[in-house]
Subunit: 190 residues, 2 copies
DNA sequence: ACGAGTAAAGGACATTTGTCCTTATCTGAT
DNA sequence: ATCAGATAAGGACAAATGTCCTTTACTCGT
């Protein structure tokens, strides 16, 4: 909970009182490894702050293979943003790849916060802007870097994911097959 | 200007009076084919609504080649979002690929609008959310579709770009070389 | 402790894409 | 109308990646 407060305070100035009042709209939930936070083809009604643990976002591509789009670690918001914002069915699933603690808020509650609190309207915009920047960076990496460079980046930026996720998931995250990831690892180990 | 008003009204309810008052913060500018709206390595101080024309966003990758990240047509906002939001130097350039008309607002003016107008705070959040969704879709396409599928998508979603942009730009947008785009076009023409 | 089921590594060949070219076509200034 | 420079198409070979497979290493329940 302190992590959450600190995270919000880093975005906007907010008094302890206002923060704790807002906290009534959130609730803490725990996911075990393998449990789902969001299901593909259902409307995602919640957004979560990750206090502890790691989530994996993925979808089934047209060949029916799981494609990992994101590994999301603590001190980040996670949701199926498109589904949550538009309140349409989600094209992704989100699953815990280790035991995870979240603070979640419902769509309706968040709209109430937006309507009554300029502070939360401001937080909402800044979180959307930040998520945009993260996604833009991701797209630029996808477009520009080889699978090997992407793998090195993952090692640097999210080293714990290398051990928490399966080879299959990491390969799909990098946009290559397991075979190619195997070759990359072979090269690096030299 | 009517296009701009209509676009804003589709985002939030706003009175004609409030819209025209806000319009004082914007100014209309015209770019000729080839002119730049944003320069790489400079701080981007403006965001633009495209009333007419097409912009191309691109950056130099580590090999010094131009990589097109986006073709942006009328009825959209365009800026180097990361640079604009963070007021840091831009990693992209934005150039008109045909004669183009923009409504632009400075960073400082927009912050004033945010500070004084809940309506604009709301517009800002919703535009950021929308841009996020566009970027997420782009990333999912990059990760999932072959160059041929991406080319077919471009033909469907932005047909005019096929004729306005060069083969070089389209190839870098698809993440392949000119040679591969040439092969794709050959296949399609059968 | 053991075996069945699961996950990772890597061999062999096919396919795709890139690199480096040459040839053909378009465009704009004189 | 003509020519120079720019732009696009496509041939030939090299390099990278995918597909399919076998072998090896883990992991969990009994």
């Amino acid at each position: 909970m302190d992590k959450f407060k600190q995270f919000i305070k880093n975005i906007v100035p907010i008094s302890d009182k206002e923060f704790f009042d807002s906290l009534a709209y959130f609730r803490e939930i725990h996911l075990q490894k393998g449990e789902y936070f969001v299901h593909q083809d259902k409307v995602c009604k919640q957004i979560a702050f990750i206090a502890h643990g790691t989530l994996r976002s993925f979808y089934l591509n047209h060949k029916g293979e799981e494609t990992t789009s994101c590994f999301c670690s603590e001190r980040n918001f996670s949701t199926s943003f498109r589904s949550f914002i538009l309140q349409q069915v989600s094209d992704i699933s989100i699953q815990a790849i280790e035991d995870t603690t979240l603070f979640v808020i419902d769509y309706d509650s968040l709209q109430k916060l937006y309507a009554t609190s300029p502070t939360w309207q401001n937080i909402g915009r800044k979180v959307a802007e930040k998520e945009y920047i993260v996604m833009e960076k991701y797209a630029s990496v996808l477009n520009n870097e080889t699978a090997k460079e992407k793998y090195m980046r993952l090692i640097n930026e999210q080293p714990s994911v290398i051990h928490k996720a399966t080879v299959e998931d990491i390969a799909s995250y990098l946009g290559v097959t397991r075979r190619t990831l195997s070759r990359i690892r072979q090269e690096i180990s030299k």
